[in-house]
Symmetry: C2
Subunit: 248 residues, 2 copies
DNA sequence: GCCGATTTGTCCGTATGTATC
DNA sequence: CGATACATACGGACAAATCGG
């Protein structure tokens, strides 16, 4: 499963931390110990540890050791990860999820679309709107744009199942990076037509651009979430961007 | 300024990318070239490149090179970075920002607070509520909890200026990691008392835990944002968590 | 289709610096 | 002061992917 050594060490440590074999606030075995345990070089261990630090599981303290800062969900009501995808939250809440394609079209990017999505003007695109339901309740309205020349042969049929499965398994394209923007916006007429909003007049909007392994933009998506089903987690580390912590 | 070699290389490349000396979708000079340019080892260059990849500036392609994926703000209306802090958005929009302390108290964490914040039950805390205004318009309600035994000697006076400046410059404590959770919640009575919400009945809520360099939790904060002034940016990379991309 | 050059990916060993106790 | 632990940096080796001839 694990392609690389550092990845298997990463996975092993991650599991042990999640299983609380290494508990919150305790110090992991030293790098030198881990080197012997996994029979590898210092760099390899450090790389695994660096990745654990990135996802907010551990924190290295100079001259002391590597401290576990992962907290199990129930204890502090904090979960680690990115956006909870539709499927994830569905399985976590043991709900049945369905997808309904409400619009499937082909368009050409004009200036307005280009500016918004990042595609070049004139690019041929698939334009798809999908409604995501949990236990029959419409929770997310997804608006997708796919580059027709990269994501070829898309159909309404595929869109109703899983576009990403199609991209990865059928087209054999690897996904590598995604830029996201989160805002809170007022509901539009289209929103209230499809989503069960109760009396909330706002929703959480996630706009994202996704790049493939060749660094080419192939997707722009706007997901409009009903507030009560939206939750986003993140861990920020100092070096990423110093200004992050410069709250007044 | 830059403590380490890889950091200065990182900063240099970052500036050049931002200045579009290296343009969107072009390939950076190869690692071997950069090694000669910066007179350093391959690992050092690679480390700088890895950090640029983390913030969504570049993307390495095996057998090809390192492609620039940074897009200047005006071109695609995407900004890179973390949460725009109060001060940042203020300066960016050329608005005058002020902070008003509406509550300053000392409490002891009971079971409810402990579960919510991650502090141990019985921990002595500062409990602060602050209102952030832009050009006189109240935009954010901040609710802070600080561990009294770590962040010592806090006063209302300090809270009205900058608590982080106090922590870093006076207490000489270094901040290193922060876990955040974003949700959209219905406005409460307290919210509508302080914030100018218009007719929106929801707001963006960012809950965060912050750890110092010793891996100790010293702050829990809930920031309640008026929708129109809230925007969060993020870039996700494949290895971080595979499930991120498994959208159905 | 193959080969070789280029480029990134993984891994190792070692040396030196810095912080903690 | 010395032992321990993480941080930075160097140099080398081989693998995997890509591209052009």
């Amino acid at each position: 499963m694990a392609k690389s050594k550092y990845e298997s060490i990463y996975r092993d440590l991650k599991e042990r931390i999640e299983g609380e074999e290494y508990e919150y606030q305790t110090i992991l075995p030293s790098e030198n110990t881990l080197i012997k345990t996994y029979d590898c070089s210092r760099n390899t261990v450090r790389r695994a540890l660096a990745q654990l630090a990135e996802i907010g599981y551990v924190q290295a303290i100079n001259g002391v050791g590597v401290r576990v800062v992962y907290q199990p969900v129930d204890k502090a009501s904090f979960v680690i990860g990115g956006i909870e995808t539709f499927k994830e939250s569905a399985t976590r809440n043991k709900l049945k999820s369905t997808t309904e394609v409400v619009l499937f079209a082909e368009i050409v990017a004009d200036a307005r679309v280009a500016k918004r999505s990042g595609f070049k003007e004139g690019t041929e695109l698939y334009y798809i709107q999908r409604l995501r339901k949990l236990d029959g309740k419409p929770c997310i309205l997804d608006i997708n744009l796919f580059d027709k020349s990269i994501v070829t042969g898309l159909t309404k049929e595929i869109a109703s199942k899983s576009i990403y499965e199609y991209i990865e398994n059928e087209l054999n394209m690897e996904i590598s990076m995604s830029k996201r923007k989160m805002t809170v916006e007022r509901v539009t007429q289209v929103d209230s037509m499809y989503l069960s909003l109760g009396d909330s007049n706002c929703l959480a909007v996630v706009s994202s651009q996704t790049f493939n392994k060749k660094g080419l933009l192939f997707e722009y998506t706007q997901s409009r979430h009903v507030p009560e089903y939206f939750c986003f987690m993140d861990t920020a580390v100092r070096h990423k961007d110093v200004d992050l912590f410069k709250q007044v």
